[in-house]
């Protein structure tokens, strides 16, 4: 495999992985100190960090399944990055374990005293209780992992020996996989994030998180692509027309996210009903309003304007800036979803909010770098690869 022109840059990936591991471990040690000093805050920060990393891995899985359904050169050139990212799901599942010890710090429904005094929570207790929550989260993580492993294994098979019909089998996994993914993200996002507010509900919440995860996955993939191009791997593979397609997808996902965000806001704001408006009341006042405007500007308006430009989307060096901004804004968005429930009326950023995502993302990045190094950077035996790599006059 080292002879292949598409061999992964093992030395560079090892450096990346080691850096991720060191930074992640350091931030992890600091965060562990926070667990002793302020356990409630630790779990609140950890929840956001966990959902952020989960979004990168799941977004990558979803985009790879989308590509199996749609085809296209854009997906073949990033498929190995997406697959490496999806193969980290077992580690992400491990990241979920600490959460289970902090449920009563996070969720009103996990606090027996609050449930006893709240009729709605008493009615919901049959679904919203720590045991069933744990089972649901475990089933979600297990099923996502199963689909990711199934696709990855078929892809490996294709690398070992080209066989007709393998693409078809990958499609047969991806089609139900995409449906299951969307349903389970809805369940998991209601459990992990929406239930922080004991009474509030919104039917669009699940797809809002799906849209966000697609941005996470695509933004991370673009940053990795830039890394690979800089390290000389994939030289001559990633052409401007591929980057253009990826940029258009990033634009589409950003607009999709904004569409869901606005739909939710518009309907709840127009209705102005007491059982719904609380969510936005918390997020538009007391300092949180500043964060909401920041989110609208930098999670949508600014990337949107830049991503309209054709020249911007055809240059991976420029596009990576938008990807970096959006990946950071993904964390801001999740922080904005979760934290006002803990600190209503007062914008509050704890140092643990910053160290926990660095810890989890650093450790996760180390696992990702190791996975990316295990295979060729392109699916060499895919029947569509030759067409995907053709050099056109217009690049």
């Amino acid at each position: 495999m080292t002879e292949s022109p598409w061999a992964p840059p093992l030395a560079d990936l090892a450096v990346l992985g080691r850096r991720g591991l060191v930074v992640g471990a350091l931030a992890g040690v600091v965060s562990a100190a926070g667990l002793v000093l302020n356990p409630a805050q630790f779990y609140r920060s950890y929840l956001v960090a966990f959902v952020f990393v989960l979004g990168v891995a799941l977004g990558s899985l979803a985009i790879s399944m989308l590509h199996h359904m749609s085809g296209g050169a854009w997906g073949l050139v990033i498929r190995r990055i997406l697959e490496a990212s999806s193969r980290t799901l077992p580690l992400v599942a491990l990241f979920a374990v600490p959460l289970l010890f902090g449920l009563r710090h996070l969720y009103p429904w996990a606090d027996p005293a609050r449930v006893a005094g709240d009729e709605i929570l008493r009615h919901r207790a049959i679904y919203m209780n720590p045991t069933f929550f744990t089972v649901r989260l475990a089933v979600c993580l297990l099923l996502w992992t199963v689909f990711a492993q199934a696709l990855s294994r078929l892809s490996k098979k294709q690398d070992d020996a080209p066989a007709p019909g393998l693409e078809r089998r990958m499609q047969l996994v991806a089609a139900p996989g995409l449906a299951v993914y969307c349903l389970l993200v809805t369940i998991a996002s209601v459990d992990l994030l929406m239930s922080l507010d004991p009474h509030w509900y919104s039917a669009i919440y699940g797809v809002y998180v799906v849209g966000g995860q697609a941005i996470s996955g695509m933004a991370f993939t673009l940053l990795v692509s830039l890394f690979l191009v800089r390290k000389g791997a994939m030289r001559g593979v990633l052409q401007p027309r591929h980057v253009h397609d990826l940029g258009n997808l990033l634009l589409a996902f950003t607009m999709l996210w904004a569409y869901f965000a606005l739909s939710q806001f518009l309907i709840i704001w127009s209705g102005n009903l007491p059982e719904e408006i609380g969510f936005f009341h918390d997020r538009l006042g007391g300092g949180w309003g500043v964060l909401s405007v920041f989110l609208a500007l930098f999670h949508f308006a600014v990337p949107f304007v830049f991503l309209l430009s054709r020249d911007f989307k055809r240059d991976i060096g420029k596009l990576a800036w938008a990807a970096g901004l959006l990946l950071f804004m993904r964390w801001v968005d999740l922080f904005w979803l979760a934290s006002p429930a803990f600190h209503p009326g007062r914008l509050s950023v704890h140092w643990l909010d910053l160290t926990t995502p660095v810890a989890l993302f650093g450790l996760w990045l180390a696992a990702f770098a190791r996975e990316l190094g295990t295979r060729s950077l392109l699916p060499a035996n895919d029947p569509n690869l030759a067409v995907a790599l053709e050099v056109h006059a217009h690049g």
């Binding site: 606005l262 806001f265 518009l266 704001w269 102005n272 006059a393 217009h394």
Partner: protein, 204 residues
């Protein structure tokens, strides 16, 4: 004015019946529009376009039965100006959509709807968005037509009897007489060296 004239420059330039600024070429026939060459193969045409540009000609045009990718760059067309028009159309449409609603619900006919502010900008967003798309779409279609100079019921090349084959299986290259490099006899002879099956003058 200068922005507009630059935007529509390509449209305005080929004024029919008015030969452009022409260098002194000696024996120019009075109503010469250009010289056209006919090719049997797309590769010959692309090759001829490269040779023509190399010779210093700038105001040239090619006609083919189907789009040929290399031709756009070879002929020296810059990026299209339609995207700029679409952007302007979108911005104008967005402003129009928003202020149409602002004006009706704040200025012209303020109505208290469930105690919401008159300027309920959140509920204005869908119409603002729709108007942005509508105006951008109209700007795209109209801008394309105007920049193409369409509709154009008559064009001098139609006077070349074989030109109708440009929509079947023949490939044409035209050098316009207003090209600064144009010399009636020289240009005609130059085009004969390009491997054309037929070269002829185009009358205005």
């Amino acid at each position: 004015m200068s922005v507009l004239s630059r935007l529509f420059a390509r449209h305005v330039k080929p004024e029919f019946g008015k030969p452009g600024p022409r260098q002194e070429g000696g024996d120019l026939p009075p109503h010469l529009y250009g010289v056209i060459a006919e090719f049997g193969k797309p590769e010959t045409l692309v090759h001829a376009v490269h040779a023509t540009r190399k010779e210093g000609y700038q105001v040239i045009e090619a006609y083919t039965p189907y789009p040929i990718e290399e031709l756009h760059d070879a002929i020296g067309h810059g990026p299209s100006r339609v995207p700029l028009l679409v952007l302007i159309g979108g911005i104008v449409g967005g402003l129009f959509g928003f202020f149409l609603q602002y004006w009706t619900s704040v200025v012209a006919y303020p109505l208290n709807v469930g105690g919401r502010p008159y300027n309920s900008w959140v509920s204005f967003i869908p119409i603002t968005f729709e108007c942005t798309i509508l105006f951008a779409g109209i700007a795209a279609v109209l801008g394309m037509l105007v920049l193409n100079g369409l509709p154009m019921p008559y064009h001098p090349v139609f006077s070349v009897p074989r030109f109708q084959l440009a929509s079947r299986d023949r490939y044409f290259l035209l050098i316009l007489a207003r090209d600064p490099r144009f010399r009636a006899g020289d240009t005609f002879r130059f085009m004969e060296t390009l491997g054309a099956s037929l070269v002829s003058d185009v009358e205005d």
